[in-house]
């Protein structure tokens, strides 16, 4: 799949661009295609801003998100507390800012786990086929039999509630998506002549996999990872919402949203701002993901 795409791109590059503007690299053309996609650019910019906020969160947060101030309990949004305060008088703006770190951390760690384990499984499965494939894919089948968030919940049930365990759980539950996708890409890359050629000149399995096959699988992995980030943030915050992820008093969007649930009629702001934060993060990731998919895989480009 990816192999065909890349080969196609290269052919086009040779035909059209090579004689006149040889310096126009594939990367630059891909970049130009990406920049032309308005949604993707908006998504990328918003996401960058959110990442930036998470990185310098302690500098941005006007108050300590953990410091309680009973006299300021349930203050509606005003100049000193633009997002209001919660029952314990903690500043919600500071909690939303600091909370971004937890959500993004869940995404980064979960995707790292899922992408590395899933890619490894997919590469082995697709490259060796036979019994390796059979065994690995049946294991993936078993994982896939746990629908949606259930797998992550089961893992948390075993390991115990907590943000670290939630990250691990989300990561493991996203492995099948990578394993399946990478396996498919490897299977479609293998019949290419250059793979046979590489083998004929004496490339070992490891070199074949790493140098000749993996680059062809890179684009779909990247696309899947953006979708995966949205998933990870969603499952992670859901776990925290259910009380299985981040534990009080730490600021985390899903957790804070859940805390505000009981005060919805008197203090709408406690749940609203963490909710908006989750939504805009996922929205920007989805926009970016759609854009990347359209840019990197021309066959999937929407008309």
């Amino acid at each position: 799949m990816a192999g065909v795409t890349t080969t196609l791109n290269r052919t086009i590059a040779w035909d059209s661009a090579a004689p006149v503007r040889a310096e126009t690299s594939e990367f630059r053309r891909t970049l130009r295609r990406f920049v032309r996609n308005r949604g993707a650019v908006i998504g990328a910019v918003v996401l960058l801003l959110i990442v930036l906020v998470a990185l310098i969160a302690p500098l941005l947060a006007p108050y300590d998100p953990l410091v309680q101030n009973p006299t300021l309990s349930l203050q509606p949004p005003e100049l000193l507390h633009p997002f209001g305060t919660d029952t314990l008088g903690r500043d919600m703006l500071s909690r939303v800012i600091i909370g971004s770190r937890q959500s993004l951390m869940v995404a980064v760690i979960a995707i790292s786990i899922a992408a590395s384990a899933g890619t490894l499984i997919g590469l082995l499965s697709g490259f060796y086929e036979g019994w390796v494939d059979l065994v690995l894919q049946r294991l993936i089948d078993i994982q896939l039999a746990f629908p949606g968030i259930l797998l992550a919940m089961v893992i948390v049930a075993v390991l115990g509630a907590g943000l670290g365990n939630a990250m691990l759980a989300v990561g493991i539950s996203l492995i099948p998506a990578y394993a399946r996708m990478v396996r498919g890409s490897v299977l479609s890359t293998k019949p290419n002549a250059y793979i046979d050629a590489a083998r004929v000149i004496g490339c070992g399995d490891l070199r074949l996999i790493l140098v000749h096959i993996l680059p062809n699988v890179a684009a779909p992995i990247l696309v899947l990872s953006t979708v995966g980030v949205a998933w990870a943030i969603l499952i992670g915050s859901s776990l925290s919402f259910l009380g299985l992820g981040a534990q009080p008093p730490f600021a985390e969007w899903g957790r804070d949203l859940s805390e505000g649930r009981n005060y919805l009629s008197v203090a709408w702001w406690i749940s609203t701002f963490p909710g908006l934060a989750i939504m805009f993060t996922i929205l920007s990731v989805n926009l970016l993901g759609d854009g990347l998919r359209d840019t990197l895989d021309p066959r999937l480009r929407q008309r």
Partner: protein, 308 residues
């Protein structure tokens, strides 16, 4: 067709066995003594309690024997007893299942209806403001966590407008908000899927032929295009059904509804492992069955697919 169904059912057996091993292993992967872990939080744990739990769980046998015993009990419908309620797990599940089923079915009907209509309308009016609006809505739909959307629904329709009750069990008025919250993501995905597939199908030769021979636009869409556009959509819808089972966990918590999801969350919190195992095992079995049924519906939409 029959042979295909039988083969698929047989293929599901090893997966189910694998699932049962995974679920069974849960008990042994818990750090520490599962019996003690399960009794933690209960007032006054005596040695007799620990012994009873260990005996209930069969923890005194070798692990493979434990698994065989577990499996043979499960096959007979015996999922053990809940540590909290002391009742058979299956009874607890059976008591909660109708509520979740009702919620999930309502959500699916709402979501598919809305999703298909939105998808078709935006495909037919491609790049118009209707299309843009519908797809923007869908994008928000897939990006909004159901627990937050549920809270917004409660805030608007229960607290501010006072039209519908916020929580609890009962008639249609208590079903609508949770079903909308649960189905939102689903309908957004369906709308995007239907639109993308319909756009692809609308430019094919057979649609052009149908138009050329004078078939009315509505008929072209319904009889010729939509039917083919639905095939990939069904796959996604099927996969989404699984997410729906998981989503019910969250939505039931938001709306304080009874159901399998709540049962599971409460059980996880209380370390009531027999209940967790029972719910998860049944959910996986139902999900596998659903997937099979979805594969079979392909034949209905695409007569070219013949199972053999």
């Amino acid at each position: 067709m029959q042979r295909y169904i039988i083969r698929r059912l047989l293929l599901a057996v090893p997966v189910l066995l694998g699932v049962s091993i995974a679920v069974f292993s849960m008990m042994h992967l818990i750090p520490g003594d599962p019996a003690l872990a399960m009794l933690r939080g209960q007032p006054q744990v005596t040695d007799a309690d620990v012994f009873r739990v260990r005996e209930d769980l069969g923890l005194n046998d070798p692990v493979p024997v434990q698994y065989i015993k577990y499996l043979s009990r499960v096959v007979q419908g015996d999922f053990g007893r809940s540590v909290q309620t002391k009742r058979p797990v299956l009874m607890d599940i059976a008591a909660q299942a109708p509520s979740t089923l009702q919620l999930a079915l309502t959500a699916v009907v709402l979501a598919v209806t809305l999703g298909v209509v939105l998808g078709v309308v935006s495909a037919l009016r491609q790049n118009s403001w209707v299309d843009t609006l519908a797809m923007l809505t869908a994008l928000f739909g897939v990006s909004m966590p159901s627990f937050w959307f549920g809270l917004i629904l409660i805030f608007v329709f229960s607290l501010k407008l006072g039209w519908l009750p916020a929580t609890g069990q009962g008639g249609l008025e208590r079903l609508i908000l949770p079903a909308v919250a649960l189905g939102m993501d689903f309908s957004a995905v369906t709308a995007r899927m239907v639109r993308a597939n319909l756009l692809e199908v609308l430019v094919t030769d057979y649609v052009r032929t149908a138009r050329a021979k004078g078939v009315a636009q509505n008929m072209v869409v319904i009889r010729h295009a939509l039917r083919n556009a639905m095939i990939p959509a069904i796959t996604i819808v099927g996969l989404q059904l699984g997410t729906l089972l998981g989503g019910a966990v969250v939505v039931e918590t938001v709306f304080a509804r009874q159901g399998i999801g709540r049962l599971l969350v409460t059980a996880i919190m209380a370390k009531d492992f027999p209940v967790v195992q029972g719910v998860v095992l049944l959910a996986a079995a139902v999900y596998l069955l659903l997937n099979l049924m979805i594969d079979l519906t392909y034949a209905f939409f695409d007569p070219r697919i013949r199972y053999s």
